[in-house]
Amino acid sequence: MTSDRTTQRLSRILAVLPWIIEHEGASTSDVVERFGYSDTTELVKDLHLVFTTGLPGYGPGDLIEVDVFEDEVYIDTADYFSRPLRLTPPEALGLLAAGMTMVESDQAPRALKTAVDKLIAVVAPDDGDAVVVDVPTPTDVSVLRDAAAERTPVRIGYVGIASNERSVRVVEGHSVFFNLGNWYLAGFCRSAEASRVFRIDRIDAIEVLDDSYEIEDVETQTMIRYQPTESDVRVSFTLGQAAEWVAEYYPVDAVQLKNGSTRVTMSVSDPLVAARLLLQLGDTVSNVRGKVVEDSLADLRSRILTRYAS
């Protein structure tokens, strides 16, 4: 197998060559910065490699000429590499979708909008509208982003997704991110004294505080992912046809039963989350097994019915 590293290195070389050919005498430091080399040594290694290649005959005049003169670099007899390769469809889509996402979210400089338009004009002149990225962005997102950028803590009213309880918290924002159709605020929650993620449409009040904080090096979160822990509770149930989407939507272990239905096992940190789902699914699920969740379900059902008793 050819490794990804080989592919990436080759891909970069094929992009660097045209640029140096076009910018005769380019400074090595500029090339290093532009093409993400760690240092000049790494660049020179690639150039030395190019130096031994060329056209059949492979003598002087056939091989690519590379000169590094003080800080300047020249390439000659390689006109066939004077234009960069076209973008592959995944590369084109990746850049377009990334650009559009930031433009749509109203978080982008003007230059990004013009860059996306220019890119579309060359990769898909007839299909400018063939990619659409919907990023509905309420103003709260900008408020929280700005507060995080200025390292100003915010006091928020938040209705928890698992608990459905409202609480007031002070959060030192780190970043905002868009995932699965929702915006989230990631940061350090002073109230919980831990890192937390808040879904922004469940924040009902924001107060920017007259205070500040430092951000330590933290890993940037861009995805909502359920991370199982040892204290999770598990519940198993069988999905009827109308509930088959559950196996696709939630991170569950699923097995196909002989009669064609699907048996899933779900693990949750809060049994109420599973109980709520089971109650919503109603008679489209059967054979629920899992003591803690079953108890939680019975409790939830009786709490709801109590409110309808009067």
Binding site: T2, R5, T6, T7, Q8, S11, A15, V16, W19, L49, T52, T53, P56, Y80, P84, L85, R86, P89, P90, E91, L93, G94, L95, A97, A98, G99, T101, S105, A108, A111, A115, K118, L119, A121, V122, A124, D127, D129, A130, V133, D134, V159, S175, F177, F178, N179, G181, D201, T220, T222, M223, R276, Q280, G282, D283, R301, R303, I304, L305, R307
Partner: protein
Amino acid sequence: MQKVIERILNLLAFLLTVGRPVTADEIRHTVKGYEQPTDVAFRRTFERDKDLLRSLGVPLELHHTDIWEVELGYVVPTSKYAIEDPGLTDEERSALLLAAQAVRFGGQPTELGAIFKLGGASPPANAGNVYADLGHDLDLLGSLYGAVTDRRHATFVYRKRARTVEPYGLVHRRGRWYLAAPETGAPDPVKAFRVDRMTDISIGDNADVFDRPDTFDVSRSISTDLPDDRPRDRAQIRFDSDIAEVAMRQISGAVRVENGSGTVLVDVPITSERATIGWVLSFDDRAVIESPPELRDAFVAYVRGSA
């Protein structure tokens, strides 16, 4: 690694300059790096190299070597090899770099290869603090996108049935990717296929096999609302005060009727009974349906029924 890269640069230089289709045999005897002792070893090396070139986006094509059409040879048409210069400024390249670094696909950061092809970019001074993850595998989405722009058929299994479609466009909406495409032979209606539900996807070899109507609007072809989302009636639901604001935001057209003691009565448009019950249940015991009475009764029966 070094040997592989040297050999492939030699191969590509040869293909870009030779100006005619060349057979594998000619390549073996002409291009430096193919001194493998056996036919088998040469074949293996050459196959790998072809795959690598194609994965980089090199248009490696097979054409007949002469008018007698006896032999096939390899060609890299220079017109298809190079990217047309989009004329980006350095500021625009840096903006693209920042966007590429901020937006991921299924946890994977975007490869910078595309930025390099556009001339590279200096990393922006401030990395920014806005990110997104658009989910899903970019290679797979990219192959569908290629089918859209090249007008190729796509074939996949969807809801247990194999289908062949004419891909018109891709939409990321409500956190999921959809392919807007009519099935072949049935141009109407254009359907929205959820990409994460497709399996066994393959893209046709032939380009330009269909036309997309000029009037087609990709965004509008995929409805913003669920099909069954036309409000028919309204219901009054009493929420505990502290969650009422968040609840009201979830339904457009929700109206506050009155504030009670610790509760808020909200008037909302409703769709199906089933969907409304599911939504009210998402608030546990903190929301109570007050009217219409039939909906209230259906709700109670639903909660009891699943005992």
